[in-house]
């Protein structure tokens, strides 16, 4: 066992990378759930985003285009969910689950000819002086642009929900869709937009795995991150900054356990592998003591029956 091989600076830098897909998917789902919709298809949208982004990046040679394609693919898949649940009044849980199964199958089909290829690299940003600082440089100023986008998105969503008119209307729709309708707000339109935003974020999260974190394409490579994102939203009590905290905690434990495995710690690998899920859930359960914060209309279909 050689713990001295673990470099704390690299560890922190890599935990941020490990956390970003989860963060992106969770922030998207948080907005969807705040609008009162429960989309269990996060995993499916992520994996479709992962392959769509990967394929586009390989074909065009630009990882940036890859991310755009991933967002579009995730949103497109989420529109399917929106049509089923918002317009055809299908059950949200069943539709979300089938969306995940559909996404896993579709991505496997799309990805057949991309196995074993290396995608073009997304360069890390480099700010003169700042990025070269010891310790702080690699942690704060040496990442790819999408990682910063994820943090910026968290801040933007937090601000939007708390201070903007749009956020207020979104929360109102998630809280009591009948009352929102009576006041003249377009419940279905707002929910459709929220669902598409969630889909785009999940797609971005998926592409982050296939283009930056791993980077290659294998079937089923999201490996349950979409499910963790769903749990994260609940345990974060629908609060963006808590979702960020939870994602970083998850990413951190994932990276630490990988390092411990590499260092040959005498704990069975299975326990190490399950530790990120376990610790994230335990911590967030403790944090989410106030249970009343769930949007009151969550998972209920709206129909203007007048």
């Amino acid at each position: 066992m050689d713990l001295s091989a673990i470099n704390p600076v690299l560890l922190i830098a890599s935990l941020m990378v490990a956390a970003t897909p989860l963060l992106l998917a969770a922030i998207g789902e948080l907005v969807v759930e705040k609008a009162g919709v429960l989309n269990l298809g996060v995993e499916g949208m992520m994996i479709v985003g992962a392959i769509a982004g990967f394929a586009t990046a390989v074909e065009s040679g630009s990882p940036f285009f890859g991310f755009i394609a991933a967002a579009i693919a995730g949103a497109a898949l989420s529109i399917l969910f929106a049509i089923l649940t918002q317009f055809a009044q299908a059950n949200q849980v069943a539709s979300g689950l089938s969306l995940t199964l559909f996404g896993l199958g579709l991505s496997a089909l799309m990805g057949q000819s991309y196995v074993g290829i290396k995608p073009p690299q997304m360069g890390d940003i480099h700010i003169p002086v700042l990025s070269d600082l010891p310790v702080v440089g690699p942690i704060l100023f040496g990442h790819d642009i999408i990682l910063y986008f994820g943090i910026a998105l968290t801040a933007a969503v937090w601000w939007m929900l708390k201070y903007s008119r749009l956020g207020l209307v979104l929360r109102a729709v998630g809280e009591n869709h009948d009352a929102a309708h009576a006041l003249g707000y377009k419940v279905l339109k707002i929910r459709l937009l929220a669902i598409m935003f969630g889909g785009a974020c999940a797609g971005l999260g998926g592409a982050y795995i296939s283009l930056i974190r791993v980077p290659q394409w294998t079937e089923g490579m999201t490996a349950g991150i979409g499910w963790i994102a769903l749990a994260l939203v609940v345990f974060a009590s629908w609060k963006p900054w808590r979702a960020l905290l939870g994602a970083y905690l998850f990413g951190g434990v994932t990276v630490v356990q990988l390092n411990l495995q590499a260092a040959g710690v005498a704990i069975p690998v299975e326990y190490l592998a399950m530790s990120p899920y376990l610790i994230t859930i335990i911590v967030l359960v403790i944090l989410s003591a106030d249970k009343s914060s769930a949007p009151a209309s969550l998972g209920r279909n709206f129909h203007a029956s007048r």
């Binding site: 008119r165 109102a172 809280e175 009591n176 009352a179 929102a180 009576a182 006041l183 003249g184 707000y185």
Partner: protein, 505 residues
Amino acid sequence: MTVPLLSLQGLTKAYPGVVANDTVSFDIGEGEVHALLGENGAGKSTLVKMIYGLVKPDNGKMLLRGQPYEPAEPRQARADGIAMVFQHFSLFDALNVAENIALGMENPPEMRDLAARIREVSETYGLPLDPFRTVGDLSAGERQRVEIIRCLLQDPKLLIMDEPTSVLTPQEVEILFKTLQKLQSEGTSILYISHKLEEIRTLCDHATILRLGKNVGECIPSETSARDMAEMMVGSTLQTPERGSREFGAVAMDISGLSVPAPSAFGTALKNVHLTVRKGEILGIGGVAGNGQDELLGVLSGETLTEADAVKLHGEPIGKLGPTARRKLGVLAAPEERLGHAAAPDMSLTENAMLTGSVREGLEKNGFLDWGATKDFAERIIKAFDVRTPGPGNAARSLSGGNLQKFVIGREVLQDPDVLVVNQPTWGVDAAAAAAIRQSLLDLAAKGAAVICISQDLDELMEISDSFAALNEGRLSAPREAAGLTVDEIGLMMGGAHGMEVAHV
């Protein structure tokens, strides 16, 4: 005569199978308080929804100060100076007062300015309100203030109020009326919908009466008796419930020193509740909604389990028995919420009859359901309580509120209970149906059953109950003999006006 503020001309709206409004015409003058009267299903709600732009009329037109007025959506109606206070509050529990109000405005100012405006308007009209409190924590009266202030901030020309007083204490009603009179003196017109005819007589200048979607007459409320107005609504003479003299028997149900924690964040804890009801007695329990009514019903019906000794039936502890076991012993309950609590909305009336009737009516044998007998039982309810529906195969959801209420009360009454607990038995039910329901409760008591009637309608409680107690923040006042209680005494038992100052107008 000058041009009326709003003139409705031949408004018609049909839904599949029913004409909700049939060529309805009337005028609302400037600064007039205009009452809209009618039974359940007479088309009042549809009519105001058309004025507020939630529903589009099939035919006919509206003129606002002589100009054509066709609101495509509520937004436009609000822009034209029409505001509405809804019957079922259209508020968001998890948001605070200022956020709720901002949602009802077109161009809300910054939160801080809005909060200042809310304080200013609420003080002007004697409706104190803290802009930063969460709406889920407010009493019904305070919630209504939120709705009213939301309307007032937009400086409306016409304020539509759908059954505003049904959830208020008498003192709160008085304050509301002062506010409305002040508004009227400032030139605002008010369209006022209520079942409470005495209120309309004191407040309104003019009344239009709807029956089955048609305008069947107008009157000046202050010059017409409440009875005449009720008969115009119903179209026939009205039966008032009659109470025979009754002998009270032994104590049927007894609760002593019961405390139950609040079941949810927006629920109410019951605190040290004492209650006894004798055979043949009707105990009326008043109080403003949200003061523990649902929780008390839960304890009595067996949905909430307590210490065995806390609830006793004929001296036997039943606190640990669930609803089905209590039904077997003769303790039946009809909760307030019709759709979802008293009845399963998407199930047929037959199936709903099975749900509570299976034990006492012997509809279930060796685990098999006897649908034939259940259908007979459902038909008996429909016949005995004049439930208007094509048949027992119809879904509960398809019935109007009043009809479904008759069904859920009838279902329990016909099971011949020893103790019947009802919550809001005539909520949203028109005068004729309400009278029938009250009569059935009186008849039941005359046969020797103990009845506990939880209600927010004080007139109803005074009409049927022998003794009266009030719930206030989960505490039950000591019961008093109902005969001879004054409105002021009742108001005080209910906890007064919940910290409200009487408006200085």
